[in-house]
């Protein structure tokens, strides 16, 4: 336990604390009945979007490869997991949920990881924007193939209503979602901080130098594809169990983009806290704008552009710096120091 704790640094501990806080808040809201219907419907999506954002950040921020096909991995996980759950529930109606849902999650994740590795191998040869288009193409292929598979419901969709019989799905699924997200977050953050994580970041920063240091670049690239896909697959299983009808057409380019928006807004790189917060905010934002009905998505898109301009325009760097936490802390410290000096000077004068 001590060894485990010592491996978590302060930054990761803060991320974990925020995650635990978020889920504790969800539990309290649901248990006390304070949650509105709108909020209830947001809880599980928030959980899987957190997981998706963290896993995509591993690929985009830590490995440095742009992927536009995260929804594809998610759909592989969703279909595998839900298919398994439906089968298990049909064969053994008495089987409790705490048996089949974890099994479905694990299998969904593994299947997605397999696809991740399969996509990762050809992706070794292409770079940058070309790699982005390869992942996008794979996502489209997966979507098209699933639509044409009869046993997965085809174009009508795959009925998953029977796996979670409870009407209060949010409360039933929340423990599993919380467990999956928190454990995954710990695993990913520890991976990033480990020897392997440093190797992955070395590949991102300078591939040739990393190779010269004896790092197996190809191994790490494929491995990250597999790992990121694994967690996306788990998120997909959650998605599938939360929904009543799985539609392959939903796992399209736009969904991959949605996840990418979270990662970029939260800040790419080894700090996962940004991704977590961005995932929560970006899932809640369209819902909170529901009062504006028709103008909802319009406001959302304008906000997206304004946020991006504000956070990354080189001309606004000065303003950003003045608003940053570090700057505020520094100026406070300066003020305190000045006050202390004045006090000191005053005391000396008194003497």
């Amino acid at each position: 336990m001590k060894k485990f704790l010592s491996r978590i640094n302060r930054r990761d501990a803060l991320t974990l604390l925020v995650l635990v806080g978020i889920f504790a808040f969800f539990f309290i809201m649901l248990e006390t009945g304070a949650a509105s219907n709108q909020f209830k419907n947001m809880i599980i999506p928030m959980s899987y979007y957190i997981l998706l954002a963290i896993s995509l950040n591993l690929m985009v921020g830590v490995l440095g490869e742009l992927s536009l096909g995260h929804a594809g991995f998610m759909s592989v996980g969703a279909y595998t997991g839900c298919f398994l759950s439906v089968m298990l529930v049909e064969k053994f109606p008495e089987l409790p949920m705490y048996v089949y849902l974890p099994v479905a999650m694990l299998c969904g994740g593994l299947m997605a990881a397999l696809f991740g590795v399969l996509i990762g191998i050809p992706a070794l040869r292409v770079k940058g924007d070309y790699l982005a288009i390869v992942t996008l193409a794979f996502c489209e292929i997966i979507k098209t193939v699933i639509i044409n598979l009869e046993f997965l419901g085809g174009a009508i969709g795959f009925d998953t209503d029977s796996i979670v019989p409870d009407r209060n799905k949010a409360l039933t699924l929340l423990p599993y979602a919380a467990f999956a997200v928190i454990v995954s977050a710990i695993l990913i953050m520890n991976l990033v901080r480990s020897k392997h994580g440093r190797a992955i970041m070395a590949v991102r920063d300078n591939r040739i130098a990393a190779e010269a240091c004896g790092i197996n670049v190809n191994f790490y690239k494929v491995a990250v594809f597999g790992i990121a896909a694994f967690f996306a697959g788990i998120a997909g299983v959650l998605y599938g169990h939360n929904d009543v009808l799985l539609k392959s057409a939903n796992f399209d380019f736009n969904m991959s983009i949605e996840i990418l928006v979270m990662v970029v807004l939260g800040g790419m790189g080894s700090n996962m806290l940004g991704s977590v917060i961005a995932a929560v905010v970006m899932t809640a934002l369209p819902e909170m704008l529901r009062d504006f009905s028709d103008y909802r998505m319009l406001i959302y898109s304008v906000m997206l552009i304004v946020i991006m301009l504000f956070t990354s325009a080189p001309a606004l760097a000065g303003i950003r710096e003045r608003l940053s936490l570090g700057f505020i802390k520094e100026s406070l410290q300066k003020k305190m120091a000045k006050k202390a000096e004045k006090k000191k000077a005053g005391k000396e004068e008194e003497k």
Binding site: V126, Y130, V134, E140, S301, L304, I305, A313
Partner: protein, 295 residues
């Protein structure tokens, strides 16, 4: 045999629409080094402009096309000025997300003005007679002939513009080395604006051709041809103008051939599958520049 030739001609027609859009992607990428994901939605804007001038304001067809060309060109420049110019020098992914924001914005503005229901394109003025080739049984529809002719004319004009005019030279210089071009006295900002204008004008023409072959438009009309054209640009090697033309034709022909001979449902999967195989064999596209790695 008849089917094959018929399919090929249809493929070239579809491919020329893709090529027109792909040119916009590739030119912007070559010069501003950004993926302009809002480009697909410029087609949608062009189509709605044609729709409003002809069906709502009852102007003649040529005026509809002209207004679409002007409107899209101006819109391209305005978008560049408001959303992309402030981000010059920012990481490319952040610019990509902004472009996606612009894409959502255009779609939702269209949704608010024209609502989600699909509208019929009023292109009665552009009804050309079909061409029957002897007694081989091959018929080439009027819109196919029009699309291919228009595309070829536009491509020749674009090639002449890039190679013969001063502005074209400036564009080539900026895409080669932005800083060196600036030192030579080229106005880089204006060159980038002109690139966006040309790309959007080509998209406006593409929207005319698209409207002729598909007849209906809705706010999300631009996204699928946009993705396909982006694929075409990458296929040909993004940043390369001849590559985008070639890529567009190849993707169009491939799409029509696979839907005619293999399966209509799996068409997209086949096209994207071929793309992946192509990229694995030639990682920078058909005519893309090989980037040599420096240590």
């Amino acid at each position: 045999m008849t089917l094959l030739i018929q399919t090929l001609i249809q493929g070239i027609s579809l491919g020329s629409i893709y090529a027109l859009i792909a040119l916009g992607y590739t030119m912007v990428y070559g010069i501003a080094k950004m993926l302009n994901f809002a480009h697909g939605d410029i087609i949608m804007v062009g189509a709605y402009t044609i729709y409003s001038t002809i069906a709502l304001a009852h102007f003649p067809g040529w005026l509809g096309v002209l207004s679409a060309v002007v409107f899209c060109g101006v819109l391209g420049v305005v978008i560049e000025f408001l959303a992309y110019k402030p981000l010059r020098g920012a990481p490319s992914l952040n610019v990509l997300i902004t472009a996606i924001g612009v894409s959502y914005l255009l779609q939702n503005i269209a949704l608010l003005i024209f609502e989600g229901k699909q509208k019929a394109m009023p292109l009665g003025d552009f009804d050309f007679p079909d061409l029957k080739v002897g007694n081989t049984g091959i018929t080439v529809t009027g819109e196919v002939i029009f699309t291919i002719t228009l595309t070829v004319v536009l491509m020749i004009a674009l090639t002449l513009f890039i190679n013969k005019t001063k502005m074209g030279k400036a564009m080539r210089a900026v895409s080669e080395d932005k800083d060196a071009a600036r030192l030579m006295g080229i106005n880089v900002n204006r060159t980038i604006s002109v690139t966006f204008a040309i790309g959007s004008i080509l998209a406006a023409f593409a929207s005319l051709c698209y409207g002729m072959s598909y007849a209906y438009i809705k706010p999300t009309t631009g996204s699928m041809p946009g993705i396909k054209a982006f694929t075409a640009a990458v296929f040909g090697g993004i940043g390369s103008i001849p590559g985008a033309m070639l890529g567009g034709f190849v993707i169009g022909i491939l799409e029509k051939l696979s839907s005619a001979y293999i399966s209509t449902q799996f068409t997209d999967a086949i096209v994207f599958g071929v793309l992946i195989v192509m990229l694995v064999v030639r990682p920078t596209g058909l005519l893309g520049k090989k980037i040599r790695e420096k240590v």
